[in-house]
Amino acid sequence: MNSKGAGGPHQPPSIPGMSELSNVAISPGILLLVGPAGVGKTMYCRQFLVDGLATDRCLLISAELDDRRLRQLFSGDYITTRNFRFINPVSSNNSSLSPQKKAMTKSLSAALTRAREFISEPPRDSSQNEKRVHRSVRVVVDSLTYLQLICGEKLVMDFVLRLRRILSEENAMAILTISDTDQQIKNKLGALTDGIIEMRLEEDPKGPLNRAIRLLSLKRTHHKPVWMHFNIGDDGGIVFGERPSAVLLCTLCRKPVSGKPFIYSDFSFDTITCLETYRKLEGAYGTSVADTGLPFEATDVSFFFVDIVGLSNPNFSVKKQIQKIETLNELLASCVAFKKSPKEKRLILPTGDGMAVGFLLNPELALELSIELHQKLRMFNNRKPADDQIGIRIGLASGLVFAVTDMNNMQNVWGPGIILARRVMDVGDDGHILLADNLAERLIPLKDEYRRIIKPISDSFEIKHGQKIKLYSAYSHDFGNSELPARASRK
């Protein structure tokens, strides 16, 4: 299966192997491509650009390439087309590799100006002389690791943020590459991008190294990451291997299930012995069974979902945005409600500009954490100038989730519980602690205090896909927001 031929004249740009990598469509945006040196990141980006040369504007930004190496990477035919542009961001004003920060800043700014000009210049179609036609934009920045070595982290983060602003005005798909050695910058960039593609090299004792790729994450979209093998063909093209066949594997022993599977809690087992052994392990370990690497059954979890309001405001520097994320994380981690929940009884999922925390035991903890965080934040904000203050919105809900440990050893959760908390949070404005009915109505009967602070604000609020819920807001004089959320008052 070759990835060539992707992308039509009026289609949004697609990435090589998109149908293999994701079961959902990938919207235009910025993807971070992470992988070790030599895995094929540059060749993948090359394929991404080549796929779009006939129809899209293709921009390659690289500090590593010069004209000679560019010609080696692409054939001359490609790079002479008017749909293609190459920019070396550190040689654009002849101040190449200048150590001076000012010169470097100027050089990067000039590169961004040239990028903006290319992206937004009135497109023309040669076959329909001077007639405006729709053009999608493909951008590659290869590599941020190298750029960071030359310019430093701060300038690179600033560069990415400004590029992001330019691209947000266009129907652009961009791939930024980075080596997987620098976890810290990878995490920061992950917060600024819309998805992460991972590449890895696999040792094969019987043959050469195997290359594999997967779409690790996609913001706000659930998908199932699957490693796909790929090769780099003699012509430099990316050739994907066959997708693993849809053989049902036993959850416990991973053998293909022969015959009718034994089903338990959405898991399939090859034999009754496997099923019983799984249930024995689950019984013995409880939710800690996930520590063995095995998935555990759907669990009722109370979720606390928080994000920082207005974090992506372009008036804030990236540094300030990151500081806010770090401050929120620190405040959250210092809350008693967070600390008193045993590690094995809570789930933590960073979401970039916030966090989701799932409590497996006591549903009150989600509310306690919200109140405590608000109180701490109020004290923090009192000491800070307006720009440094942090505004948050919180959504609380409970429901079933599955927790699985993925191949990257990351904790992942999926299920109605976390989706609902996210959607409830999305309704809120700065300061709101909103609760879905399924959690609010469990809490209200418990304590008089809850009766006083949890108030219904909408009897039938429609969230996504026509789902209607009763919405509650928790507030008092020192936490929450007593105003109706703007979205709720519009309904």
Binding site: R254, E276, K280, L281, G283, G293, L294, T405, N409
Partner: protein
Amino acid sequence: MARCIAFHSYKGGTGKTTIASNLAAMLAAKGYKVSLVDFDVYAPSMQGYFDRVPDKWINDLLSDNAKVTDVMIDLTPVIAEYANGSAKTGKLWVGFSNSKKEEVYKLEGGAGNQSDKLHVLRKFIQLREDLISEYNSDYVIIDTSPGIRYWSINSLAIADILFLTLKFGDLDIHGTKKMAADLYGSFTKFGTKSYLLLNRVAGYCVPHSPQPHEANPEQSSDDFSEMLSRETGMELISAIPCYCDIQFKRKEFLTVLEYPEHPFAKQLEQLVNAEQIKV
């Protein structure tokens, strides 16, 4: 139907290895195919018991450095030697755990991350399957680590029958009861059978004249066993007396074969013939 029996205890030194090895040998001598697996991974002692140094250990199998055939040592000749060429002799394979500290750490740490840990667990589960389906074992006997630990839990989870071994005179009734309630319940509700196996029961130094229990002179050992069984909710499958000749022997080795008339062998014979473990 093959049986997978795990010997477990709350504390160490209860005689798991001795009883498991003798039981395995006796079953093999009676014509059964038996696989004995040393999975007391934190303090393996079966290698010393059988005085063998295998080329490959169970640890190698779990870390993908050996096949099942490399680690399961055929000790049938040892059985045959005692059985005087009896046509009834079955098979005895034994797999040993490595006591080298690096190997213990490696297994204890789950070989790093969770996906590696799961891989090792799957290899362990596969070992049981291979011993039953490839070796046609009638019995897979696992000598586990005492207490509630990662590999003892996993060993108990793959077994059909659990023998909770207790040493008379050094009982931690409270701990044993708690473990039986907390841990064994997770297994028995899915079909695992669990039994108490009392070892070194006091009062038999003079055969056939049981004495009152030292701790409670009013209570006989039979009463005590009943009480224990009641408290833990587990049936007592065997109460093996304390035999001074075994207790103080420099090295006990397969008494059931060496001294088939010994009362210990007779006790094990009863266990071998118990309906609860019949295949």
